[in-house]
Amino acid sequence: MTDRQAKALTADLELPTFDATAFTIPPPLGTATVAIVTTASLHHPDQDDFAPTDTSFRILDPARRDLQLGHWSPNFDATGFAVDVNVVFPIDRLQELADTGRIGAVAPHHLAFAGNQFELTQIRLDSGPAAAKLLRADGVDVVLLTPV
């Protein structure tokens, strides 16, 4: 099994299209609150695992490192994350950027969705906007999106 083979498996996936590209200008980075939203299906052990085709999200506590990888696809390397959460969820790096003033602050909550979704309507119309509302309520200005 190789990375080339894993990527080749995604070649025929139908990709969503967007008629227009929404675009938000953030405040200066040194004043911005930054959140991570990952599609790696991460969750804390006391939260529900992701079901297949699960379009909901989990709220991640930036103080915790007890994260579990709930993604259903077998077609990625998991040992990098097993050794270092930051290779998928760079929470320590984000805190270091806040400590040095490169970013304003680390958000109080971060989010995880399940990637490998084939039907995206629920995410576009329901859970995605709900996640955005939660992030906005936390004062988030910038979102870093990471896959797995």
């Binding site: 099994m1 190789t2 990375d3 080339r4 894993a6 990527k7 080749a8 995604t10 070649a11 990709l15 969503p16 299209t17 967007f18 590209t21 675009f23 938000t24 980075l29 599609t39 052990p45 695992d49 990888l69 709930g70 077998p74 077609n75 990625f76 390397d77 998991a78 040992t79 990098g80 994350f81 097993a82 050794v83 270092d84 959460v85 930051n86 290779v87 998928v88 760079p90 320590d92 790096r93 984000l94 270091e96 490169r102 969705f113 995206l120 995410i123 576009r124 995605g128 906007p129 996640a131 955005a132 906005r136 200005d141 910038v142 979102v143 870093l144 999106l145 990471t146 896959p147 797995v148």
Partner: protein, 226 residues
Amino acid sequence: MSTLAHVFEAAGLATVALGSIRAHMAGVAPPRGLFCDFPLGRPLGRPADPAFQHRVLAQALDLLQTARGPTLAEFPESIEDDENVTLACPLPPRFDPDAHPAVDEARALRPGFDRAVARYGNRAGTGRVVDADDIPAAVEAFARVADGTPWKEAGIPGIPARVAQDIRGYYETAALALAEHTPGAWETTRWFLDATETGRTLRAARQRLEDAGVSRNVWFYLMPGG
């Protein structure tokens, strides 16, 4: 993931999306995207390498200065999967000659699994549906499938793909302790699939299911690859 970028921007959040599949980044065209030519599973590139991760983040965050989108940049450093490298990981000798070789092997890897969990936590190992104590029994269930038992009668303790993930996670986590270094991407997966009794058993079970005409959804995700 890039879909969320569009949704969030429309809600007033500025986004930067990382991604390692170029065609997807170009096709979904997030408002700001950074293509990183890294192996799948490691979007920040190198585990336990804060300096490298900071270089990725710095370039990603620089994209916030762009005035319009979509914009797609590329991180200048690539990380190649060295396809010829398989983790060199010692496997324990047979202990119980009466047990299936894969079951015997799974039992013998438990100390390694426990050492890795003590060091790193159990982030990608077991526990989705099968705890470490029950991994040997789960392996035995797939051995029965490989030997011809219909999968619904084999005692697989959950959705087969999820059980198989826990088995692979158990082995790959144990390998972290046995190897005593951070393997490159896919090295432990190749070791699991090609060098272990359980990897071979899972492959045989998958083939048996496919040959028997079982639904593709049951067998396809038992292991990586098409």
